[in-house]
Every structure is written in C-alpha cells, then in structure tokens.
Amino acid sequence: MEITVKLFAMFRVGRFAAGTYKYREGITPADIAGELKIPEREVGIVLVNSRHAKLDHRLFEGDTLSLFPLVGGG
C-alpha cells in the first residue's frame, strides 16, 4: 500500500521532505520511523491525515504521515 510521508525540521536532513512510498499492510508510524533510522525518542508530533496519532497507530492505503521532532529547549 502507498503512504505519503512528510518529514519536518532536521528529520528531512539526509532523508527527504516528502514522498509517497510503498509499505506493507498494517505498518505503523513507529515502523516507518525505524526504517528511516529516526529514533522514537526524537519524535514529538505524529500526524496521520492531519490528525494527531500515536506511534503505534495502524496506517492504511493513501494515508499521509507527518513526523515532527521533539523540541524542548529554551
């Protein structure tokens, strides 16, 4: 199935800003972050089709996943 993945901030450095890729059925944002070598602890906001989601959310054909890094400095 095809999922559009959007990466924000430094997640896109050395990877990509946005792209549509083929994934296996039942894949989760955590799986995709893992494939992209993005450590889960660095993930702040996860959006699936513009809605906030958890890392273990089950993705479906045509979904758009957005990953934002956790920012906490001041």
Binding site: F8, I45, R51, S66, P69, G74
Partner: protein, 280 residues
C-alpha cells in the same frame, strides 16, 4: 498642584516626557509605574511609548501597564521575553529561574555577558529592566518552578510565558495554568527549529504537543541553540502575550506554529484532534 494637573501641564501634544515622569515620581513620592498609570488614566501616553501608538492605544497601554506576566525561565527565550515585555510596557513581571549565567549561555542569551558570569539570571533580569524601563516592576525569584511552588508563583497573573528547557516541567506548568485558568504562551527551541502555541483557559495543549513524549529533552540536546532561534520564537510569544492581554487579533489557539529557519518554513499544526490540520 496635584499629580493630574502636573501631568497635564507637562504633557503637551499628549506625550509625557521621561524627565517629567521622573520629576512627578519624586515630587509626589510615587513609583514611576504609578506615575505612568496616572498619566495613561488621564489619556496621556508616556513619551517612551510614542511609537507604540496606533498599534497600541493609550487605553491598551494602560491595560498593559496594569498587567502581570510571569516568565518561567530566564535563559535563551526568557531573556528576550523579559526585554520585549518590559519595552512593550507590561507593568509587572515575575521572573523565575534558579540558575546563574555560565559561559555556554553567551552565544544566545541576551541578558548574559562575560562580566555577568556567575550572577543569578533573575537578578540580572531585574537590573536590566530597571535600566531599560524603570516603570516596570520586576519580582525576581531564584527558584526552580515546580508542581509544589507553581500555584503560589502563578496565582494572580494575567499571562504566563514558557521559557523552560525541560519537557516535564513544561507539562507541570501547563497543568497549573489550566487549574488557575491563566493563559500560557508556550515556546520551545532546538537548533534551527522551534514551536509556539497558546493554551487559553479551558484548553489543554499538552496531548497534541507532547503526546508521544518519552524524553525530558528534545533535539536541542544534539543541535544546541544558535543566537537567532530564541529571538524569533520569543518574539512570536510576546506578540501572542500582547494580543492575549489586550483581547485583540487572533491568537495561536488550537494551533501551533512550527518554525524551521533552515528551510525558512513556518508550518501550522492544528492542536485539536477534532480539527483538520493545515499544510498537509
């Protein structure tokens, strides 16, 4: 001659010069802040705020003069928050930070300088405000904000500014602001990136912002913080605070601005799960 008559006589064209404000404070035994409040009540703008006019009316300047902002953290974000709120004319600032200035602060923290290394950040903040706008009252608290002392620190304030550097303390801050129904302007930075959002009474921004949170720190531990990111994010926060205090414009309610200065992109993320995010 009473205070009002003195101000009226000293304020041709509606502007009260700083020298007259000083003289009034001395002659009538008042703080500079009280003289400022009296001038604004009579429709006179202290001349130092003349370039605020049109953007901020005399009535709104009076609202700012009577307002209290609590700034939690006096570091990268906090320094700019304090500087801008004081110059804007927010009359009462409470500054909370347990730390002293260290060498690694010098690349970005506007209140730091080599001569001030080792000095408490809140003490320096109070001295800075006394220098740039002595009509503003600063309450420096050299303590770490916590769930235990938070209610006492925030109670009675009109807006709370997040200049923290820890995510778990941010969660506690947001929680106490919700208990007290005080607006919170959240800001956080890391490297080229930052985020800003406002939590107004009745809202809870934390599930959206930190719903996947597992670490006490974010990307800033790897990326550090350059000089410009805190300035950008803190300025957005102060614009939010100004609007919240004045009840004007559109605030970042139910939405967050995610700032990417490396690619110069500002993305809007909706914070209510029931709403649809823009930019997808």
């Amino acid at each position: 001659m009473g205070l009002r008559d003195f101000i009226t006589a000293a304020a041709p064209a509606g502007l009260l010069p700083w020298t007259a404000q000083l003289e009034a404070a001395e002659r009538f035994g008042l703080t500079l802040g009280k003289v400022e409040e009296a001038a604004l009540e009579s429709g006179f703008m202290p001349a130092r705020y003349q370039r605020n006019r049109q953007t901020i009316t005399v009535d709104n300047q009076l609202r700012l003069c009577r307002s209290c902002a609590v700034i939690i953290g006096s570091g990268g974000l906090g320094g700019y928050l304090i500087e801008e709120l004081a110059r804007l004319g927010v009359g009462n600032l409470v500054v909370v930070d347990p730390d002293i200035f260290e060498e690694h602060n010098l690349n970005r923290q506007i209140l730091s300088s080599p001569a001030l290394l080792g000095r408490p950040k809140v003490e320096v903040a109070a001295a800075r405000v006394a220098e740039i706008n002595p009509a503003v009252t600063v309450t420096p608290l050299q303590i770490a904000f916590s769930r235990e002392n938070g209610l006492g620190i925030l109670a009675g304030s009109d807006v709370v500014m997040d200049g923290l550097d820890s995510i778990n303390t941010r969660l506690e801050l947001a929680e106490i602001c919700r208990w007290l129904s005080i607006p919170l302007v959240h800001g956080a930075i890391g490297g080229w990136y930052g985020q800003v959002a406002s939590q107004l009474p009745g809202d809870d921004i934390t599930p959206s912002l930190f719903g996947n949170w597992s670490e006490p720190k974010g990307v800033e531990t790897q990326l550090g913080n350059p000089s410009f990111t805190p300035a950008v994010v803190a300025s957005l926060q102060v614009a939010e605070a100004c609007k919240i205090l004045l009840g004007e414009g559109e605030s970042l309610r139910h939405r967050m601005i995610y700032v990417n200065l490396l690619h110069m992109e500002f993305d809007e993320v909706m914070l209510e799960p029931s709403r649809t995010a823009v930019g997808e």
